[in-house]
Symmetry: C2
Subunit: 303 residues, 2 copies
Amino acid sequence: MLIGAIDGGGTKVLTAVLTETGQILARRQAAAPTADVPGYFRQCAEMLAACAGEAGCGVFSLAGVGMNIPGMVTPDGYVLGSPSADWGRFDARPLLSTALGIASERVFFENDINACALAEQRFGGAGGDFVWITVSTGNGGAVVANGRLARGGGGCAGEFGHLKVERDKPYPCGCGGMGCLEAHASGVAIARRAREAGLPDGTDARKCEELARQGNAAALAVYDQTGVYLGRALAIAANLLNPSHAFIGGGVSKALDLMLPGISRTLSAEAVPQCAGLEVLRTRLGYEAALLGAGAVCLEGLR
Amino acid sequence: MLIGAIDGGGTKVLTAVLTETGQILARRQAAAPTADVPGYFRQCAEMLAACAGEAGCGVFSLAGVGMNIPGMVTPDGYVLGSPSADWGRFDARPLLSTALGIASERVFFENDINACALAEQRFGGAGGDFVWITVSTGNGGAVVANGRLARGGGGCAGEFGHLKVERDKPYPCGCGGMGCLEAHASGVAIARRAREAGLPDGTDARKCEELARQGNAAALAVYDQTGVYLGRALAIAANLLNPSHAFIGGGVSKALDLMLPGISRTLSAEAVPQCAGLEVLRTRLGYEAALLGAGAVCLEGLR
């Protein structure tokens, strides 16, 4: 069985044809403007068709197609909004199924971070209860409780990025709130703290990581403090849900080793002892987590 | 079908014989010393036998017996510890089944707050995803995700009492941490704030409620601030789990109306808009929530 995967992002799209064990047979990546919504879905369909051609099959012979939306979406494809793509509400299912020329029953949708958690479960070997946290430009997350993705009453569970992790010196968040995880532990927040710490102008999260690895004390402190904030969010998850694992993904997760001391200290201090044993790992799926996630979404939908 | 329910507390025990729809046919309540563990379980068994006699049946004819433990316990009755009963680890199942003289397959165990959530679901009509928070001497909680009680990898999910809700002026908690919900929104914390607000010596949560209802501004402020702290914990649950309801139980929940303004303001400020619609209600099960919970535990176990 071959399946199609579309990781729709706010600035770029990845598509792939996968086997049901997660082997990528063909892959495309391209920038994708989101302003013309039908055009965006046509581009996704064309990229996936090219992958199918390369894999030696047609889109028609795919068992189904899973697509990630960079925002809130119902399982049947109704987009509720995406800040990163600047989308409001619309029905994505007919747009995608028409563009692909396949039946709407064979296309499935999910929030991109939820998709990462599903991929971790299906292709990464994660069992039991766990949380997934992205550390990238922003912060997002997903919760797996009782072995199943937790969606909540309104389908919006997993908003790790807006947990309040700082009340003493809170920084304003893009959401309008104060002290959110995203305002303190995102790539943007790392760059801001690097600037405040007197590191050279233009030091972003990646450059700050480089400096930390060269032993720069200020850069190391920036990552340690990021670990403290992530630890606060993880302690919340530990106390409420007692997951056995937390998987950290997103570009900044490459620096997880620099953040782990701060994470561990904070988990010890803020999670009750019986929940503090949470194992914090970098996702085993690397850069492809979300793309594999779209495949997992398809396989979930086909069940 | 008749079932037995034992709500084992750190200072008192309630027992009942119930129908499977939650009608209480007979009920006993007594103080119970916890130091002699086998003696405690013998007392529970004697009280339940007296209920069975009053209900016109023997303990033998009960379909099963559910028992709450005021601490951590595995579903098969291994107690992991109880601060309120000062218990360490022991196997409760043989103690109870021997004391009752019934097969160990017919006795079922659960943490007392988890039991309340199961009762809310089975007898209170709660559907979907919700959280349960106790406001009593301390604070505890339970999480229902995907319609099922979340236990977590180690069986210890739902530790609402130790979520950090204050970082600016945190108060030490009995757990050794700082700024826990229990240190700021429990009955004990209400009494402490009442004292700090200059209310008469010996003003406990109940007396503070009376004063608030008489219009005392300081007492009203104590309850409003308690609502703010509860709101912070509820906003965490809203962001992570997007539950449709939160049920508040425990003795202090009688004053929920005095706390709701603070809860609502805080939810609006700290939960993302799509999760902030969480409806906060007093439990519909009143004082019997935990006792009915033990009945629900039995019915879950018999499924």
